[in-house]
């Protein structure tokens, strides 16, 4: 019996260490994956992955043939503009969006978006209402 108990204590210790290690791993993953909401100026200043929100400048959407990317300009509530390129699939209701959230990082004066979230005018869309354009 006591042999078993020792064995059990050993396994509990191992399990405990594993769980703590996992928690630490989880916490660091959490922190490193946090993408903060920043203003356009801050986004252009840093090279980190951030989120920016704004609306689409009408008529600024165009398709860049050579790099196969979607290019457009966002404008925030203060009128500051941000040039964005995005190589994923264009979200369905892109041009009608009241607000766009772009997640990515800036490089060479242009914001490279990895993910685009498109906010639609006030309708509740149900469970799978819309999609986000994103790369796998």
């Amino acid at each position: 019996m006591s042999g078993n108990r020792m064995q059990r204590r050993l396994w509990y210790a191992v399990g405990g260490v594993l769980i703590v290690a996992f928690l630490i791993y989880g916490a660091s993953s959490f922190k490193s994956n946090l993408t903060a909401y920043v203003s356009f100026d801050q986004a252009m200043a840093t090279g980190h992955k951030v989120q920016v929100a704004g609306s689409l400048v009408e008529g600024s959407t165009r398709w860049l043939e050579d790099s196969q990317e979607l290019a457009f300009t966002m404008v925030d509530e203060n009128g500051v503009r941000l040039p964005v390129v995005y190589s994923g699939t264009k979200p369905g209701n892109f041009e009608e969006a009241t607000q766009i959230v772009a997640i990515g990082s800036s490089r060479d004066g242009v914001f490279h978006a990895e993910q685009l979230l498109v906010k639609c005018p006030s309708k509740y869309q149900g469970i799978e209402g819309s999609e986000d354009g994103s790369e796998a």
Binding site: R8, Y25, F30, N33, T89, N93, Q125, G129, D132, A136
Partner: protein, 845 residues
């Protein structure tokens, strides 16, 4: 508001309240039970009728109601019209209430002597939902509605929801949500009644039911996203998706915890907590997705929809009740005792349950990150999908191994007789892993992952076969489910990480090779005016198979929204996924020149002679629903027989279009009607693609010049000598100094009454003409167009289509695995429902 509907909701609320009170009273005297049941049934009936009414109002397009106008319109086909019931918040809550109340009928039937207390708590959950409906009434009219203001048509259903999956996914999801309330109610009742062991027997079938419905709903959502939405995946770790996954994980942990409790009398407290948490997470998830706290972080949730206060109250109320009961009974709950060795089913169950719960907690934390980070960051932040993948991967590996090992373990130790089987299976795993590495799995983490998944599949697959051969198929449920899960785990990796993706532009009729397949774009197809534009793409595989894919891009007229749908070809080992990105219509060849003719007149262009012979109104059925006017033109060229061509003008509701006709004997040459005056009998014909084009199109300021092929044109500045607005004269001249062919001349363009004179031939330039475009009088500049007839014609651009092409290896296994997992759960449900019969019906309250 639409009185009958709203009244019915109030009636349902009152009956629900009455039922709750009656059940509470039935604890004192059994006589109250019958009225309690009756009240419940009446509440359900009221809900059913209210739902029927809403459906009726939607189907008959009663636009007095705000809800009907907001989510439906006259053009929706029947199945989508039905699904508008749950397209909006109020309707989806009504659907939830409907599912809950009907499910409760079965709960009354099968809860044995737990009935009174279970129903008190269950009723409370249903009432909490009806209260939301009372607050946001689906039957309300538009504000300030008068008779004259009833809309004629609705705003329509979001085009992304116009999809067969919209008809099935939400109802199953709400059924799943409703089902999670049942273990919750049982747990609270068990605490109250001090039945810390028996309640699992009564509840396990319901737990399985929630797993089946929620699980099916989640995968249906994933399949919908994959098949319809065009971003190539089936799971995005979006808050709404996570909101349904977390309760499922906790419920799965609960199912295993209950088995552990029955087998080894462990986890009594944990199971109670898990059962309560399952439903509490459903409520929390509802809060997250409908209160607007995540509005900036998800495509699914939007601005505050007005019920945040109620949702917070809901959460607080149920949490407090649960905590109270738990605290009350905590010390009474018998503790655990047991001494199992490490290699026993018990220990693996314990760790497995902890891991499932840990995954649930991790996903919750990730989803709530905007809320959490508000505490220490000034602006909230969110975690990306990478977080979930990273955290989930090690957990999935461990769970995979556990699932594989379980068939070899009994509650108290290993099964000696199975040792040989284990060796055999491990050998097979090694072989398959080697195959996987050969096929491209390289990262060590992925190799271990594949090993775990394959181990789970083989081990459980074998166990299933053994049991079926022994005729014990009813007990094989768990193994069938685990087999399905192992398959899914494998497919998650291959489809997600090992697919290849490429974006290409397909020019019409030009075969292009992508990812080993040959694709040819054959044009756009629109079989009926209402159909969605389908891009026809012919595909041939390296093995010679040929098929046609039809991805779609269409504009929803109501919202002017461009929607893209992918098309998928399922092969055994992979899927070919094609999503349209952009479509460029064909561009005509540029205009080479134009001639204006009256009837019978001839004119030369290059070496052709064109004669306008007359109009032709005889071919009215050339285009259905349109007026076609043909223009008969005879073309003669020296050395060739004359040819008669008939370009035409087609007039439809959408506008007027000129139809060009090919000129035989040329490559790409066409003739088109540029304009006509039928009463005067004059027609202007444009010739396309015959060479020549605008060589230069520039803006020049005073004194600037443009030079092209020996011709130099200098803009001398506006000549405003005739300009006297007060005298009513607004004419001016635009003079140019032109040097060509060694000679210098002056060409003056006149602006009379706002109209600029037409193109002027430049002498000595070989037929070039000078034309003036936009004028900027203030800035002192003018646009100059220089036409060169000898310029090589730009070839007409054919239509082209940009596609996102990707392969999804083994993705069909995701769906196959899901079906197996669901089948196994059904089998388990079948087995466990018998246990309920062993619990007495009445007495012993």
């Amino acid at each position: 508001m639409y009185l009958p509907g709203t009244a019915l909701l109030w009636i349902a609320f009152l009956f629900g309240l009455g039922s709750t009170v009656a059940y509470a009273l039935s604890l004192r005297g059994d006589a109250w039970r019958k009225p309690a049941r009756q009240a419940y049934v009446l509440m359900t009936l009221a809900t059913i009728v209210a739902s029927g009414l809403l459906m009726y109002l939607l189907l008959t397009h009663d636009y007095r109601l705000f809800y009907v106008t907001a989510y439906s319109d006259n053009s929706l086909p029947l199945n989508y019209l039905i699904s508008t019931f749950w397209a909006g918040q109020e309707g989806s809550f009504l659907l939830w209430v409907l599912c809950s109340s009907i499910l409760g009928l079965f709960l009354i039937r099968f809860s044995r002597y737990y009935e009174s207390r279970v129903m008190i708590f269950y009723n409370l959950t249903v009432l909490s939902l009806i209260m939301l409906l009372v607050r946001q009434d689906p039957f309300r009219f538009h504000e300030g509605l008068t008779a004259g203001m009833i809309p004629m048509d609705g705003q329509g259903l979001n085009p992304l929801l116009q999809n067969p999956w919209m008809v099935i996914h939400p109802p199953v999801m709400f059924l799943g949500y409703a089902a999670t309330a049942i273990p919750f109610a049982f747990a609270l009742a068990a605490l109250w009644m001090r039945k810390y062991d028996e309640w699992t027997k009564a509840t396990l079938p319901w737990v399985l039911l929630s797993l089946i419905t929620l699980g099916a709903a989640i995968m249906l959502g994933g399949y919908w996203a994959y098949e319809t939405l065009g971003w190539g995946g089936y799971w995005g770790w979006d808050p709404v998706e996570n909101a349904s996954l977390v309760p499922w994980l906790f419920t799965a942990a609960l199912a295993h915890g209950m088995l552990l409790q029955r087998g080894r009398k462990r986890f009594r407290k944990t199971n109670l907590i898990l059962a309560i948490s399952g439903y509490m997470f459903v409520v929390y998830a509802t809060f997250l997705t409908r209160s607007g706290v995540l509005a900036d972080f998800s495509v699914h949730s939007f601005v505050d929809l007005g019920i945040t206060g109620w949702l917070v109250f809901n959460m607080a109320f149920f949490t407090l009740v649960s905590l109270f009961l738990l605290a009350l009974r905590w010390r009474e709950i018998p503790g655990e005792e047991g001494d199992e060795p490490f290699l026993s089913r018990t220990v693996f169950f314990v760790i497995g349950i902890i891991l499932l719960a840990a995954l649930g907690i991790m996903v919750t934390l990730g989803t709530s990150s905007p809320l959490i980070t508000r505490l220490w960051m000034e602006k909230p932040a969110q975690v990306g999908p990478d977080f979930y993948n990273r955290v989930g991967l090690p957990l999935a590996i461990v769970l995979g191994f556990f699932i594989g090992v379980i068939p070899f373990l009994a509650w108290k130790g290993t099964i000696a007789s199975a040792r040989k089987r284990l060796v055999g299976i491990l050998a097979a795993v090694a072989v398959l892993v080697a195959v996987a590495v050969a096929l491209g799995v390289r990262r060590p983490v992925d190799v271990v992952y594949v090993a775990a998944a394959v181990f789970a599949m083989l081990s459980n697959g074998w166990e299933v076969l053994v049991r079926i051969r022994r005729g014990q198929w009813r007990g094989a449920g768990a193994y069938v489910t685990h087999l399905g899960l192992g398959i899914m785990l494998l497919a998650f990796l291959t489809a997600g990480l090992y697919g290849k993706s490429e974006k290409i532009r397909l020019t019409r009729d030009e075969p292009t090779e992508v990812l080993g397949y040959t694709l040819t774009f054959k044009g756009v197809e629109k079989p009926t005016p209402d159909a969605r534009d389908a891009m026809v793409v012919e595909v041939s595989t390296p093995r010679g198979r040929q098929f046609v894919l039809r991805p779609k891009m269409w504009v929803n007229r109501k919202s002017n929204q461009l929607v893209a749908n992918p098309d998928i070809k399922n092969f055994l080992t992979t899927d070919l996924y094609v999503a349209p990105v952009e479509f460029n219509p064909a561009e005509e060849a540029p205009v080479s020149g134009s001639v204006t003719l009256t009837r019978g007149q001839s004119q030369a262009f290059k070496d052709w002679t064109l004669t306008f012979e007359g109009f032709d109104l005889s071919r009215q059925d050339a285009v259905p629903g349109a007026i076609t006017v043909g223009v008969l033109v005879k073309l003669e060229r020296p050395g060739e027989p004359p040819v008669e061509l008939e370009p035409s003008i087609v007039s439809t509701d959408q506008g007027v279009q000129a139809v060009a006709v090919d000129i035989p004997g040329t490559s790409g040459g066409k003739i088109r009607v540029g304009g006509m005056n039928a009463s005067a009998g004059i027609v202007r014909l444009e010739l396309l693609g015959l060479g020549g084009g605008i060589a230069r199109h520039v803006r020049v300021h005073t004194g600037e010049f443009l030079a092209y092929r020996g011709v130099k044109i200098t803009f001398d500045g506006f000549d405003m000598s005739g300009f006297d607005p007060e005298a009513g004269k607004i004419d001016f001249d635009i003079p140019f100094t032109v040097e060509a062919g060694g000679e210098t001349t002056k060409i003056v363009q006149h602006v009379r009454g706002g109209t600029v004179s037409g193109p002027v031939t430049i002498p000595g330039s070989g037929g070039m003409t000078l034309e003036v475009g936009r004028i900027d009088a203030e800035g002192g500049s003018v646009e100059v167009l220089l036409f060169d007839p000898d310029m090589a014609p730009a070839p007409p651009k054919p239509e082209s289509l940009v596609l996102d092409v990707s392969t999804k290896p083994l993705i069909s296994l995701v769906w196959l695995g899901t079906l197996l997992a669901l089948l196994g759960m059904f089998m388990a449900l079948f087995l466990r429902r018998r246990d309920v019969a062993s619990i007495p019906v009445g007495g012993d309250e």
